[in-house]
Symmetry: C2
Subunit: 470 residues, 2 copies
């Protein structure tokens, strides 16, 4: 996709050469400059074209990170953190070249404090690895963005996903980070207390900064008790509006749903075909309830009443783990089912988020837009948060196909912004949403620029992301 | 108290005179420079001596705020927001003189969106006024710091209070703010979507900044459904350790307590005397449960089991509103009960917060400290967060009394920091905790300074708070 914001900036060739020399000398085999390593560390997961770093450091400690940042700071060379590369808006691209710091070897769980429901991990720990590690403690880390992302990447993009409606996003679940800043020193943003009003909220400043203010070296996370009982459910509705009304009533009544996901008719059709299911091909809510033997049936019954009131079909639910997996299969396979609608086409996963009172309007208008333009774009939403994704299937090989996709994304974002929504609920800005961020927040983006200029005056940390300078 | 951090800075006499002239001209009677107005807008609620502003503007709109900030920016004169003056660490003192902006006339609820569970208010709306306004919507704003504080002040100090354990702090409940920044323009930090990953988290940067980065002109808040059923309970324990063990188990089991407050023996004795009650004079937990007719008894029963396991006495609980008020009377009157222990003495309310695994240690060591030094200081804790307050009663008329109190606060903070805690869970830094913030976060405070320098290069916004410059 000929994305304007992903154009290459100015490369500091002299500086890059110097840093390559220093890091080769210091790290030997742990610093790689081969083409395949460089390709693996550029953007690969979606439509934004890759921009390769000049070298990849496989960091093993905060000391390694400090050494790399110091070299890059001295020579004013870009430095970009890399978790597992699942970001969707070009966050790991090296727009001006530079060094990628790969965190796959910084994957230790440093401490778990079961009494405090917290843990501290290195940035390369993936969420699945963390939950395996925690299994015997009775605790889990709830944030689930779908992909098996790294905790450092999730913190940096302010990730969330299906159960943010119950457990919040990364902003709510990161207690503190350590980060190497532009002067090459490691700072810690907060202590391990569950709350604090001690000065500026630097933790939340790093969460969502997409690596533009420093490189994370550890993340302290809040954990949750594994619910005694988990149940799943699904319910079809005659319209997007009816489904969204059920969502709003559920939230207004304070039913603590753990997940409440909306799949539109096109997506349901794709799921039936792909996973050989026989769901009604109409807008469907998938739910999950977390609680106890006593409370989960109460939650389910309360939702069933709401669903009936909103014209929903039969509410299927189960507390049996195997049956729940089966019931949720459509939702779990949604991405691959959608891709299978048009195996020859590329997929562009884009997200917006609106106040939930506007979700039905925003989804319906987007469906009409898709139909009017003859596009193919199933919709899946984290309905409890007003957040939804369109997986637009488009021809990335033709100029026209790319232009059509780009125009769609623009209309989608303009629509969400007109409804007091945001251009991204959970994917971040990266390179893909820079223009929309300006439309969304106007003068506030100047404050972001001032913060960036203050903390990273030479623009070494992940340059060319979130906003343009100057 | 001869607090070193509260010393006056340099006054810009020429600039102040110019701004007084401009604001008198523009605002007439709405701008006051009389001694009594100035005294009412300096710090009054605790031990830190007052430092008076030179004039008080009774702002009625964001335009008024812009005019005042523009005048102050032009002449490099301090400007300090003032809600109702309940902050505890000298936040509203005019260390270098300047202008206080009083928000008591900016007290409109601008909009309520029941379907989205949010509202937008002017900064001068108090939390009680907001909840009265919301009564018919079935929604409420949960944060309760005790005092009937203004929403602008609560946002600025990152306030929390008794039910943060369930509903979070101001950081979790502010969706967006508008603020007038150093260039005199009003910015908006976020849209009304429930979540966003669009750029730096400016909302969280303003929440807790204590008015040092700009002046808030509106705050958008998340609201909660009023629970169908509320129950209260109280249970005495043989020791602080036993009570804290019950708290930890409650949190670990995921029982969604709405409040879980710890009162120590001295405080319970004070409450019995003051409110003519007959509670056991031993460490006591006061609880509140929010839910439905079905879930509240389940929560209460689950806690009762834990309490018994930890050696607690009888767990009294009730879902009757009147009885609940009676049961909670001791907690509600705790402050006045404590003051009544020594009516001739001044009271210093100070707070720290530690990981909950260390709460019992921190409280017990603090009790031993109090005893060892012959002090009087009842302890009340928001136990579910590891946050507790000491209300130190001391003689503020004698140099020795002040020195004794100051030394106690230093030991308390050192103790909390040694346990990976924070020097303030909810009061903020203001002037009172500046030295401890440096001890707590070290190099991270330099980042705060860089942010402040970038957003407020002339240091006009509430100077002399949170950290020293240069």
């Amino acid at each position: 996709m000929a994305l304007k914001d992903a154009k290459a900036g100015t490369r500091n060739e002299v500086g890059i050469a110097a840093v390559l020399g220093i890091l080769k000398q210091s790290f030997g085999e742990r610093f790689q400059t081969g083409q395949s390593f460089r390709e693996q560390h550029a953007h690969t997961t979606t439509y934004i074209p890759p921009q390769l770093p000049d070298g990849v450091l496989f960091a093993e400690s905060a000391e390694d990170v400090k050494a790399a940042v110091n070299a890059c700071a001295t020579h004013k060379v870009p430095v970009i953190g890399f978790g597992v590369g699942t970001s969707l808006e070009g966050q790991v691209n090296a727009a001006n070249g530079g060094i990628s710091i790969d965190f796959s070897r910084m994957n230790r769980v440093l401490e778990v404090n079961p009494e405090d429901l917290d843990c501290t991990v290195e940035p390369g720990v993936t969420r699945e690895a963390l939950n395996i590690h925690l299994r015997d403690t009775g605790l889990f880390f709830p944030i689930d963005p779908g992909a098996n992302a790294s905790i450092g990447g999730m913190a940096s993009t302010r990730a969330s996903g299906t159960n943010a409606v119950r457990y919040g996003t990364m902003k709510d679940n990161v207690l503190a980070v350590t980060a190497v800043t532009a002067n090459g020193e490691e700072i810690r943003t907060a202590r391990r207390a569950r709350k604090s009003s001690a000065g500026y909220d630097l933790t939340r400043l790093f969460v969502g900064a997409e690596g533009t203010l420093g490189i994370l070296t550890s993340v302290t996370l809040r954990l949750q008790a594994i619910p005694q009982k988990i149940a799943g459910g699904a319910c079809a509705f005659p319209s997007i509006k009816a489904a969204c009304d059920a969502v709003i009533m559920t939230i207004q009544m304070g039913i603590p749903v753990a997940r409440i996901e909306l799949l539109d008719t096109v997506q349901m059709r794709a799921c039936n075909a792909y996973s050989k299911l026989s769901y009604a091909e109409s807008p469907t809510l998938f739910l999950e309830f977390h609680g106890t033997d006593e409370t989960v049936p109460l939650q389910s019954a309360a939702f069933a009443e709401i669903a009936a009131e909103c014209g929903g079909g039969e509410f299927l639910w189960t507390a049996n783990a195997e049956e729940r997996t089966k019931l949720w299969k459509a939702r779990h396979d949604a991405y691959w089912a959608a891709r299978a609608l048009a195996p020859g086409l590329a997929a562009l996963s884009t997200d917006v988020c609106v106040p939930i009172s506007r979700l039905a309007d925003c989804v319906s208008e987007t469906q009409a837009d898709i139909e009017e333009h003859g596009l193919l774009g199933p919709i899946v939403g984290h309905a409890g948060d007003g957040n939804f994704h369109v997986l637009l299937l488009f021809d990335d090989k033709s100029t026209e196909g790319v232009a059509v996709a780009e125009a769609f994304v623009q209309r989608l974002n303009r629509r969400a912004l007109a409804m007091d929504g945001t251009c991204t609920g959970e994917h971040g800005v990266g390179q893909g949403k820079m223009a929309f961020l300006e439309q969304e927040l106007g003068g506030a983006v100047d404050l972001m620029r001032q913060v960036k200029q203050a903390l990273d005056p030479d623009d070494i940390f992940n340059p060319g992301k979130i906003f343009h300078h100057g």
